[in-house]
């Protein structure tokens, strides 16, 4: 969460980011399921995103190559339709640097980074980044590791 906000800041440094105006917004949040298990929630980059349909300004689009759902902040008019339609509640409202208005902001999976800031900051390896097949393999492997660990206790 902190790493994400720092990534959205204009300085990119924690100690400075906390004093910026407007305050950078984190696009990921850690939330708790009913069972009490915590999990990170950020844009799922849906196959058929409601936000795109809802966007009257045509600011949100799906990148045909990567499948990422991206928002063009220049085009956003601040109508908040995307915010209302998003089933995950992960589109945020951010003040523009010139304070003249607010726009909707969303996760772009840190396009200008090799690994998204949240993944890099995640200590426990709960967040992974990669192609779907690789991720499935990695998750299965980590399950096996966990079983081994549990059985060894």
């Amino acid at each position: 969460m902190i790493a994400c906000a720092v990534e959205q800041s204009s300085t990119g440094e924690l100690f400075k980011a906390i004093s910026e105006t407007p305050l950078p917004v984190s696009l990921i949040e850690v939330t708790t399921a009913k069972e009490g298990e915590s999990f990170p929630l950020q844009c799922r980059h849906c196959e058929e995103p409601y936000c795109i349909d809802a966007c009257i300004a045509g600011a949100i689009r799906k990148d045909p190559e990567t499948g990422l759902v991206l928002s063009d902040e220049e085009k956003c008019v601040g109508c908040w339709m995307c915010v209302m339609t998003c089933p995950f509640g992960v589109i945020r409202v951010s003040l523009l640097p010139d304070k003249k208005g607010k726009i909707a902001v969303k996760c772009d999976l840190c396009q200008d980074r090799k690994i998204p800031a949240c993944v890099e900051a995640c200590y426990t390896g709960a967040l992974l980044f990669g192609e779907v097949e690789d991720l499935i393999r990695a998750v299965n492997k980590s399950k096996e590791d966990r079983d081994v660990l549990l059985n060894s206790r």
């Binding site: 902190i2 790493a3 924690l14 100690f15 906390i18 305050l23 950078p24 984190s26």
Partner: protein
């Protein structure tokens, strides 16, 4: 040599880091990398785990004001965490002081095989201050009574501690007015713990003011007592020459490294390695002799008093073992990396813990007892000698570089230096400042931190300061850093100092940077500043003086305490990386702005040592202007 050059500016350190890499032995720098990115909540001080409703963390990017479950704001949480760090540091320095009083007491009672009163003059100065009768009494009698009085400084519940009253009168009055003159060392530390328990103090200003009080109980209390009684027990330092850096390790002698902080055992080890019995044993085992060297502050203690060479500072402790030439490393307390036992297990090096307060799993423990210190010291030295034949001849790599240095300056002996033996006085120093030969004084102290290029912060800052005619005093790992760069030699004045400072150094024969001891010896700086005020002509309070302090590579809680007692004594103090307080704008503003109007000092955070030096210089100039001093002579 790619990464190793980024990690330290010291050539021997780079050399040893390369070896660590080749041998695949991780060091603090590698472990830092594995810790990245570090927790943002922790760095900002906004994680509270003082109770089991939590842990609570405040989102620094939340637009709405968040509080912990109990309702504690970011300001409360940050202030509480911060003064707990002060308490940690103050406890460490002061417990060190307590151990020295214990040894002092046993010496007075004649119950030790190693200690005695070595500085009668200082004993009597202290006795007079504490109104202990001197006339017609033996030293031991005086010392016994004095020991009780010093123990009382720790346990006093009401009233005022004595050593803080040594400060300039105006300062003492200010502390009284603010209600922060410490009562007793233990009292203030305990109260810090109480105030920061769930559901107590939540006025951040009230919390921070008690933080100052706790810090003052360290600087003007525990640390000062440690310094004073170490001088009485082990003699007051006199300027002395020695060598520094890993090159002081010997290829053909038994290398004993003492690492840690307290002089109680290390000082006696000096006697043990010099005993004919031990030397004979070493020769029998095929060594040419015994080479005792120091590491960190315990090194400064025996350097200042006996000229024992310095192997290195905090970040060089693992590297010393990596030479493969250390036959034994004896440690006591503080700044001893738990990683040492792992590094030592890759070599023949025997690691020995000695304090009941610091043991390590699987590590040999020879417990120090002041009653039979010499016996224990000999036992440890013997273990080193017996380990010498286990050295792996080919696996040894000792960097060949070491530097000469002069150390051993104190608030007292600066009198003789400046005034000469006939007229011991601070007058020449005050005059040099008043006339603009010396711009002012700066204390550069503190640790190493792998987040900052090793020694770079200390050395670059010190060079920039002396270039601008600021006389620099140094302690602890900062002093060791400067020594490794050859800055503690009188010749450094010619090479690096501004013209005015150079003239003074050449006239008096001192280096432009004065090594005044270990980290508890920062108390010497407080006394020196007080002496400057007493001498006259530079204001009435420490906060009037053209002085500044810095800890460019700080990492320990002890540095938090030191920096806090310096600002609470009226000294602007620059830190190389920010304290873990930035999560609260109010606390940050209080400590970095408002504090100056209240106690005369404040913190400044600046990572670039040259820029930091100029913040100090600008501050010194501001103070010079306020005192209406002459412009600098050569500018």
């Amino acid at each position: 040599m790619d990464k190793t050059k980024e990690r330290s500016i010291d050539k021997t350190t780079q050399d040893m880091l390369q070896r660590a890499k080749e041998m695949n032995i991780p060091t603090a720098w590698d472990r830092l990398e594995s810790m990245l990115p570090q927790c943002g909540f922790g760095q900002l001080g906004i994680c509270c785990r003082n109770c089991e409703m939590g842990p609570c963390k405040i989102n620094p990017f939340s637009v709405k004001e968040q509080t912990g479950i109990c309702g504690a704001s970011a300001d409360t949480i940050v202030a509480r965490n911060f003064i707990r760090m002060i308490a940690g540091g103050a406890a460490a320095h002061s417990d060190h002081g307590r151990d020295i009083i214990h040894a002092f007491m046993l010496a007075a009672q004649g119950k030790t095989d190693a200690y005695g009163i070595k500085d009668e003059v200082k004993l009597k100065v202290l006795a007079r201050e504490y109104k202990v009768k001197i006339d017609g009494r033996e030293n031991n009698e005086i010392a016994a009574e004095l020991a009780d009085k010093f123990f009382l400084e720790f346990g006093r519940q009401y009233g005022e501690m004595n050593p803080p009253r040594r400060a300039p009168e105006k300062r003492v009055k200010l502390w009284r007015k603010l209600g922060i003159i410490p009562r007793g060392v233990d009292r203030e530390i305990v109260e810090t713990m109480h105030r920061t328990v769930m559901g107590v103090d939540n006025d951040y200003k009230n919390i921070l003011m008690h933080g100052f009080r706790t810090a003052l109980a360290d600087g003007w209390g525990g640390s000062m007592i440690a310094t004073d009684l170490s001088d009485v027990l082990f003699k007051s330092p006199e300027p002395i020459t020695a060598k520094s850096n890993l090159g002081v390790l010997s290829r053909d002698e038994v290398n004993v490294v003492v690492h840690g902080h307290e002089p109680t055992l290390s000082d006696v080890v000096v006697d043990a390695v010099r005993s004919p019995e031990m030397i004979a044993l070493a020769k029998k085992k095929g060594a040419k002799g015994i080479n005792l060297v120091g590491m960190c502050c315990t090194s400064s203690e025996i350097l200042m008093r006996h000229g024992i060479p310095v192997a290195g500072n905090f970040l060089q402790q693992e590297l010393a073992i990596l030479t493969g030439a250390v036959d034994l490393m004896m440690v006591d307390v503080q700044c001893i990396m738990p990683a040492l036992s792992g590094v030592a297990s890759a070599f023949h090096t025997k690691l020995v813990t000695t304090s009941p307060k610091n043991k390590a799993p699987g590590v040999t423990h020879v417990e120090f007892k002041a009653e039979k210190a010499y016996e224990i010291a000999k036992e440890i030295v013997k273990m080193a000698i017996e380990n010498f034949p286990n050295r792996n001849g080919n696996g040894i790599h000792i960097p060949d570089k070491s530097e000469d240095l002069v150390a051993g300056f104190t608030a007292e002996n600066i009198y003789n230096f400046l005034g000469g033996a006939y007229r011991a006085t601070y007058r020449p120093l005050n005059d040099a400042i008043i006339q603009g030969r010396i711009r002012g004084l700066a204390g550069v102290v503190g640790c190493n931190n792998p987040k900052i290029k090793h020694n770079y912060g200390h050395i670059e800052m010190a060079k920039e300061l002396i270039k601008n005619d600021v006389l620099v005093v140094v302690t602890g790992c900062s002093a060791i850093a400067d020594s490794e760069a050859g800055l503690l030699q009188p010749e450094a004045a010619v090479k690096y100092a501004g013209k005015g400072l150079r003239e003074i150094c050449e006239a008096v024969g001192i280096p432009p940077i004065l090594h005044v001891g270990s980290c508890v010896d920062n108390s010497r700086i407080l006394i020196a500043l007080t002496n400057v005020i007493r001498e006259g002509g530079l204001g009435e309070d420490i906060s009037d003086l053209p002085v500044a302090g810095a800890a460019p590579e700080w990492m320990s809680e002890k540095a938090v305490s030191i920096a806090s007692y310096f600002i609470a004594s009226g000294v602007l103090t620059v830190l190389g990386s920010p304290f873990q307080i930035l999560g609260s704008k109010k606390v940050t503003n209080f400590l970095c702005n408002e504090a100056e109007d209240i106690v005369g000092g404040k913190f400044v955070f600046e990572g670039d040592p040259v820029k930091a030096a100029h913040i100090m210089i600008d501050h010194i100039d501001k103070k010079r202007k306020a005192l209406k001093l002459k412009p600098m002579m050569y500018r």
